[in-house]
């Protein structure tokens, strides 16, 4: 049957697809052998992961003294990486939860991959505080459990304890949300798979999903509830991360602008990372029909908004310091922009405030190479933002006699590199074994099978309109 299309706007999914084609396209990736490009990327990222693992083993067996920290700069590289990775994760939840509540249909093409990215980014982030503990095998001491030391409870007044609860809740809820979203797709893969290992695994994890609408009704409600819970959660997580700094009395950290500033920065960096990943996945796995120019366009616009909020926050911080009349506060900000770390500060401003403004031009938003390069620039800029906030606030403290410099050791650099290896290894494995696009959700935004739903300016319907009551068929049955 000829399908009806809106002609005024390009549809979200290109190629006038029918539902079965979506299953074929997305499951086909998993059913074929991996491409040479995939193997190349996998070998590269797992090698980097191996190097990082070696660095972690070395620093745990030797001690935190392998880091470049000193008495003045007691927090630097690892907390920078922690905040950086947590921030990356936030875009995944934003896409899956907040855009769901706002009924943004374009999220269906990116939400699965973005949620996976959240999980992997939070894993990378969690490694840093774990390593920083020095004796990571005692990490469970941060959990308030009955123990033989009193029982000595954790200090619930400490933001570091809040952070532990925030990150672990965030990871758990993200995992549950992701898994619930996967259920119908796992069933689709199960039904397509030949008897064997894949079918057995999918049968186990798809929980006997059969597409019953009585299940769908409840499922939709639970999905909405999870989205409603995840939305304040994602805001709370980065707020609490910012409180790690804001509840201290260090000039440059002790500021009430931190929570909104951190949340905006997190979404900003996360969207850049989603763009980086999706543009690679689009090319490598031929998802051009599913991840179109309209998707990149929408994401670039979010980057302009959040990047401008971040820029405004930078200015506000300077204004507050100047207006406060507090010489220590003023010194920290002058030192940030003009001191020994001025190069890091201006890298941050260039990458985060100036370069995203290029997205105002449609020509740049529609050039995928430019979008990809700018997304990398934003990632670099947001890493530097955390580095600048942390190191420049510490390295010149109240006593000039204790002023110190900081530079990371090779071990710290390799650990950061290793987390990138972990992140990309996990992401590549995810692309091989799970549907990278939410099949059931994409089917719901196709123009197939409906005449007046979705895009406007639909031509007159061919099938009987839903509103008309069908004539009775003979006598009552």
């Amino acid at each position: 049957m000829a399908e009806l299309r809106a002609s005024l706007r390009e549809p979200w999914i290109r190629g006038n697809k029918e539902p079965i084609q979506v299953s074929d396209d997305i499951c086909g990736i998993l059913e074929r052998r991996p491409t040479g490009l995939w193997w190349l990327a996998f070998l590269a990222s797992s090698s980097v992961l191996a190097i990082g693992t070696a660095a972690v083993v070395y620093q745990i067996s030797t001690g935190i003294g392998t880091w470049g920290l000193n008495r003045t700069v007691g927090w630097a590289f690892d907390i920078t990486n922690f905040v950086f990775w947590i921030g990356i994760g936030h875009a995944g939840t934003l896409i899956s939860a907040i855009l769901f509540l706002f009924r943004q249909k374009w999220r269906t093409s990116v939400n699965r991959a973005a949620e996976a990215m959240t999980l992997f980014a939070v894993m990378c982030a969690g490694l840093f505080p774990l390593i920083h503990m020095g004796r990571p095998w005692l990490f469970f001491w941060i959990f308030p459990y009955p123990n033989y030391r009193g029982p000595l409870w954790v200090n619930f007044r400490s933001p570091l304890v809040w952070d532990f609860f925030a990150i672990s809740t965030y990871f758990t809820i993200s995992l549950v949300f992701w898994y619930v979203g996967l259920l119908p797709d796992l069933a689709t893969i199960r039904e397509r798979a030949k008897p064997g290992l894949r079918r057995a695994i999918m049968s186990f994890f798809s929980l006997g999903w059969d597409g019953s609408y009585r299940t769908w009704v409840r499922y939709e409600v639970v999905y909405l509830l999870l989205a409603g819970l995840a939305t304040p959660l994602v805001v709370s997580v980065h707020t609490i991360v910012s409180w790690d700094f804001a509840t201290s009395v260090i000039p440059g950290w002790h500021t009430t602008i931190f929570p909104p500033y951190f949340v905006a920065g997190a979404i900003f960096s996360g969207f850049a990372m989603v763009l980086t990943l999706m543009l690679i996945a689009r090319k490598v796995m031929h998802l051009e029909d599913y991840f179109t120019h309209r998707h990149t366009d929408a994401m670039c616009k979010i980057i302009i908004v959040t990047g401008s909020i971040v820029g405004l926050a930078y200015l506000t911080e300077f204004f507050t310091a100047a207006y406060s009349g507090n010489p220590y506060e003023q010194f920290v900000f002058m030192n940030r922009a003009l001191g020994p770390f001025a190069w890091a500060y201006w890298t941050m401003v260039t990458c985060n405030v100036i370069s995203p403004q290029l997205f105002w031009f449609r020509k740049i938003r529609s050039n995928l190479v430019a979008v990809f390069l700018l997304s990398l620039v934003v990632n670099v800029g947001m890493w530097f933002e955390r580095f600048v906030i942390i190191v420049t606030s510490l390295h010149r403290d109240y006593l000039p006699s204790s002023w110190a410099d900081y530079s990371p050791t090779i071990i710290e650099v390799l650990t950061l590199l290793g987390t990138f290896g972990l992140f990309f290894t996990l992401f590549l494995l995810f692309c091989r074994f799970l549907p990278v696009i939410a099949i059931a959700e994409v089917k719901g935004v196709l123009s197939y099978g409906r005449t007046e739903h979705g895009e406007r300016a639909a031509p007159p319907p061919l099938a009987p309109p839903l509103t008309r009551r069908p004539e009775p068929v003979g006598e009552r049955i």
Binding site: P151, G211, I477
Partner: protein, 176 residues
């Protein structure tokens, strides 16, 4: 208990919406509909009751938050009070962040467990697929042949008005 059921297969979401409405208007008993994706408004068209899971979610969140407030108060003010920077034993504003996180954790994880219980989904459960393709691109409407007044021929004609690609009658176990 085994029942005789009538099943009609459709390919377009518009048709399944239409046949679900028509079947209800004709007073037919819809046992279930099988769908590859969620169709907006199909629950109302088929007359399925709205889920009560939001109440479960609310109560779980309340339980989680309540337990956490009590636990934080008990550990810091009753069981072993420790002076941290001269703050009061019961420093309740500092308890807010963790209380919020635990509320979300209880409500989120608990609601999903409640979903699995309510819909009888568990790891390794054997799926009973009524028609191949309901997880891909087919919709299946399953009607109960309740009594002698059920006329398969007329129902078949009704289904074909909504572009049924296949209809069949079969015996089926019905879980109440």
């Amino acid at each position: 208990m085994s029942h005789r059921v009538f099943m009609s297969i459709h390919k377009r979401e518009e048709d399944i919406l239409g046949i679900a409405r028509a079947a209800r208007q004709e007073g037919l008993n819809i046992i279930d509909i099988y769908a590859p994706y969620a169709v907006h408004g199909l629950d109302k068209a088929a007359g399925f009751r709205p889920s009560r899971l939001p109440i479960v979610c609310f109560l779980l969140g309340l339980t989680g938050a309540g337990l956490k407030v009590w636990f934080e108060f008990w550990t810091t003010a009753v069981n072993w009070p420790i002076d941290v920077g001269g703050k009061p034993w019961n420093s309740w504003p500092a308890f807010v962040p963790v209380t919020f996180e635990v509320m979300v954790l209880f409500a989120g994880v608990g609601t999903v467990i409640a979903l699995f219980i309510a819909t009888r989904l568990w790891p390794g459960k054997r799926a009973t697929i009524p028609f191949p393709g309901v997880t891909d691109d087919h919709f299946a409407l399953v009607l109960e042949e309740r009594d002698a007044t059920f006329d398969p021929g007329k129902v078949r004609a009704l289904c074909e008005r909504y572009n049924a690609v296949h209809v069949e009658e079969r015996e089926q176990e019905i879980v109440p």
